[in-house]
Symmetry: none
Subunit: 245 residues, 2 copies
């Protein structure tokens, strides 16, 4: 039995762009999170965002509240986000890449909140004072600031990864046919050599070396049964055509 | 000594929304990637996207091309993306979470392309036939489809993680000649199709499907320049013989 699942709430603090609120909602829904809370959005912004397409159910349940305290509510773990590299005194500053491992080391929380600041200014020091840790997405120094919707997507993606652990994902297996047997490869190879002999491909003097090279080529390819069938069919047809032209 | 760094090119195939193109550009810049190529965008869309804020330098260098082949160019590894769970026969379908590990297991490529389809339809089967593998972002079944800009952000984030984690692979390299370019593979492939057309290999009704299958076969073989030379010579000789019997 693992720890009880943490329910994450995404909190946008004073966002300005309705498209970003809608995009955040969509990412939250994409990764199976359930809750979006927005702190004091500009009223028309909020109205427009509520009708965003792509995550209708999630956006319908999204709430707007007056203060960050209201948004945090019953969450017992609060994590902020930053794109900057400013010092976080007495705060863990974690790369989002490390977030799953960091969460695993801590005791579980039934409800947790992940805060994102406004597009222009990010989270204020006041906002950050509520956070147990601050997460940074590892962007490059010369273009560190992410679009809000995209930052939410990357963080939700990591939270989903954290909750799944590293469990195997059913249905993501590859559908490949089996490796071809040595017999069928030899058969295929002999057919190719016969065809090339008929077409006059080999130089009499270097035929042996060319044949060896060709065999190596065949063996190196890691052909599957399926490949061997396709290739065998093509070679047979070519051979037939050469004889019956 | 590690493997040489792979330079990733993000390719958007027929995107419709200029905001998404701009958002893709910004994510690319955020994670230190260098190149955005867009296949046949709608002209006003492209003009608007070029002036997107947040990633000016990247968007300035972004190119628009006519065809997917042009966009792939010299890339020797091509990875598609999908939000669906449709079966990819004979293609590795990888969760993006596993992408760094998957890349580490393979030999290195100097240039690679990551393809994203249009917002409405994703990548076509024709587009996917160019791909060595297909990546899926592990979204939830009841809201699987991501916003294009956000999908690009999550993938670029994982590619950045992959390049940081690139571990040296001593002793795992054999002496192989260089990976064949997509151009030379396409050339080879076209020659094979012509030859098979001349020999009457294809069934008229299923020719398209057979050609797609054959292209996939060619791509999967990891052919080197040397291989391409040998194979090209054999095909040329067969073609000559069919004509001059």
């Amino acid at each position: 039995m693992g720890k009880p699942e943490t329910s994450w709430r995404v909190v946008l603090v004073r966002p300005r762009n309705p498209l970003n609120i809608g995009a955040a909602g969509r990412a939250i829904a994409n990764f199976g999170l359930k809750e979006l809370v927005v702190v004091s959005p500009f009223e028309p912004t909020w109205r427009e965002a509520k009708s965003a397409v792509g995550a209708e159910a999630l956006m319908k349940s999204a709430r707007s509240v007056e203060s960050l305290e209201d948004a945090i509510g019953d969450a017992t773990l609060v994590v902020g986000t930053t794109t900057g590299r400013r010092r976080m005194l007495d705060r863990d500053l974690i790369s989002v890449t490390e977030l799953p491992a960091w969460l695993k080391r801590r005791r579980s929380h039934r409800a947790a909140a992940l805060l994102f600041g406004s597009e222009k200014t990010g989270l204020s020091n006041q906002d950050l004072s509520f956070c147990h840790a601050v997460v940074r997405i590892p962007t490059v120094p010369n273009c560190p600031s992410m679009n809000l919707g995209q930052a939410v997507a990357v963080c939700c993606y990591e939270l989903a990864r954290a909750s799944k652990g590293a469990a195997p994902q059913a249905g993501l297996r590859t559908h490949r046919s089996n490796q071809a047997t040595m017999q069928s490869l030899t058969h295929l190879f002999d057919r190719a050599v016969r065809l090339l002999d008929q077409s006059g491909y080999f130089h009499p003097k270097s035929r042996d070396a060319q044949v060896l090279k060709l065999r190596r080529f065949f063996l190196d390819r890691g052909l599957t049964n399926n490949d061997a069938r396709i290739l065998g069919g093509a070679l047979a047809q070519l051979e037939w055509r050469l004889k019956n032209k």
